[in-house]
Symmetry: C2
Amino acid sequence: MRLGVDAMGGDFAPAEPVQGVLAARDQLGPDDRVVLIGVEPAVREHLAGHDGWERFIQIHHASEVVGMDEAPVEALRQKPDSSIARMAEMAARGEVDAVISAGNTGACVAACQMRLRRLRGVYRPGIAIVVPSYYGPVVLCDVGANVNCRPRHLFQYALMASEYARRICGVADPRVGLLNIGREDAKGNQLVKETRELLRAGPDVKFMGNIEGRDLFRNVCDVAVCEGFVGNVALKLMEGLAQGLFKSIANELPQSKPELAGQFRQAISTTREKYDFNEYGGAPLLGINGICIICHGASRARAVVNAIRVAREFATTHMNDRITERIARCQGSLHE
Amino acid sequence: MRLGVDAMGGDFAPAEPVQGVLAARDQLGPDDRVVLIGVEPAVREHLAGHDGWERFIQIHHASEVVGMDEAPVEALRQKPDSSIARMAEMAARGEVDAVISAGNTGACVAACQMRLRRLRGVYRPGIAIVVPSYYGPVVLCDVGANVNCRPRHLFQYALMASEYARRICGVADPRVGLLNIGREDAKGNQLVKETRELLRAGPDVKFMGNIEGRDLFRNVCDVAVCEGFVGNVALKLMEGLAQGLFKSIANELPQSKPELAGQFRQAISTTREKYDFNEYGGAPLLGINGICIICHGASRARAVVNAIRVAREFATTHMNDRITERIARCQGSLHE
C-alpha cells in the first residue's frame, strides 16, 4: 500500500509528520511505501540522519503550503502546487492509495471532494471521529465537513459511521443515536425531526432514537450523528474541557498533596492518554472515493502514526466497498 | 424578597427542592420568604420534623405535575393546576419576586414567556449558564430556550450575558466570543456570519470574534453566544464528559496505586466540585420580565440553594434594569 502524507500539514510541520512516518515503520508491511508530499529540502532536512529511510519513504516535492487559517477553496485555487492539492491529485491518479493530512481541514476536504469525488450514492462526505468514553468508543459524524446538512445527509452519516464502528472499532451491531437537545420527539429543530423519521424507517439501522450530549458517555449508542457545525463545536469543546480538567487537577494536587503529586500524575496518565487526540488516531473522511485521514492541527508524531494505522485498516477492511453496499441497500428508503 | 420554588420540579422532587429550601435558610434575609409550590401533602411530609420552617416557608398547593418528558406547550394547556403553571402565574401577579424550577425546562420557559412576557426590546429570552474553567467562569448563552435563532437574537444574548457576567460573575469588561467552527471569517454557517457583522458593528460590546469550542477553556472570552441547539448539546456534553473523566480516573487509580486511592480521591474532590452543576447554581432565563432561575433536572438540594443565591443576586443587582438599559442603547445598531 502507498500512503501519501502531507509533510507540510499542521502546526508542527514538517518536523512531526516526518517523525511520525519514521516512527510508523514497524507497523508497515514489507510492500508498504510512504510518500511525503511537501517542500523537498525541508523534508530532507528532517529525514537526515535516520538510517534507511529511503527503503520505505519517497519524497514528492510541492513548493507551496496552505496555511491553517486560509479560506479552503481560494487557497487551493491560488496554490496549485501546495502539498494538499498535490496529495489529492496523486490519489486521483492512483499514485497513492490513501492520503493523510494534519493541515487545513477545509482545504483537505475540498481537495479530496474535487479530485477523488464521492462514493456511488453518497450525497456528502462526513468526518468521523472516535470519541473515547469509559464504556468504549463512540463514532461521531460529522465533525465539520458539512455545515449545511439535510436529513438525507445525516441518514447516510448513520450508515457510513455504523460501518466504520463495525469494521474498525469492532462493534458487532452498532447502536445509532441522533444528537439532539432532548430524548423526546417534540424536542429539536426541523433537521433533527426529519432525520429521525428517515432513521426510523430506514432498514438496516439499529436506531436508538434521540440522544443528548451526555449520552455519548453513558453507553447509550456506538454511533452518534449530527450536522457538522454542532459536531465541530462538540469535538473542540471535548478537547478543551478534557485539557482544562487535567490542568485543574494538576494544579490542585501540589496544593493539597504535594508529596503525592508525582505518583498521582503517573496514575492518571492512562486516563489522560485515553482522552488525548494524539492517541486515538486520525479521523476518516467517510464517503470519499478513496481513503483520506484527517489529523488534528496540533498533531504530534504519534497522531501521524495512529493515522497511518487507521488508513491501513480502512484499506484492509475494504471499508469503501462496505459503505457503497450499505448505501445501495438503503437507498430505497430515501426515495419512497 | 419572595421566592417561588417549584417543589415538584426535577428527578428528585419534592425531596430535594424542599431540602434545598430548608438548607438555604442561612442565606435568606430577615424579610425573605419562600413559597413552595406543589402538591401540599407531599411537600408537608418533607417539611415535617424541621423546626420553625413556618417562619420563612409558605406552601401554595398545585395539584398537577408536568413530567420531565412532556411536550411543554401541551402539558401547560392540559395541566393548568401544575406547579410550573401556578408558579408563573404567581410571578405575573406579583405574589412572588422570582421563580426557581428544576422541572421541565421547556415548560418553564414557555410558562414564563406566556405569563411574564419579555423585557422591553428583547426579541427572545435565552438561558445562560456559567461554565467553570481553569481560568474562571464563562457565561454561555443560549443553552436551549431558542432553537430557531436569528442573528438579532444572538446579538442580544451577547448584551444580556455580558451584563450577567459583569454583575454576577464580577467581570469588569466582559469579552464576548461567537461560538463557531473556526476563528476565520470564512468559516461557519449563515447565522454565525450575519451575527458576526452585528456584533462587530454593535457599540458597547467587547467582541473578540469567532471562537471555537476549546476556547471556552482558554481564557479567550468571558461570554460565549450560540443558538440554543448548539448550546444545549454543548452543555450536556460537558456534563457527560466531566462525569466520564472522573469515573475513568476513579477506576484507574485503584488499579495503578491502590494504596493511595483514598488520598487521591480527596485531592481531586476540589476540581470535581468545581465542575459539578450542583455547585455552580441555577441558570437564569435572561430577557424575561421577571426573575426565573432554571435548575438541572438532576438537581440535588445544594443546586437549589445555589439557585436561590443566584435569584437574590439577580434582584439585588437590578439585573433586569441593567439589561433593559443596555438593550435600549444598542437597539439602533439592529435597525440601521
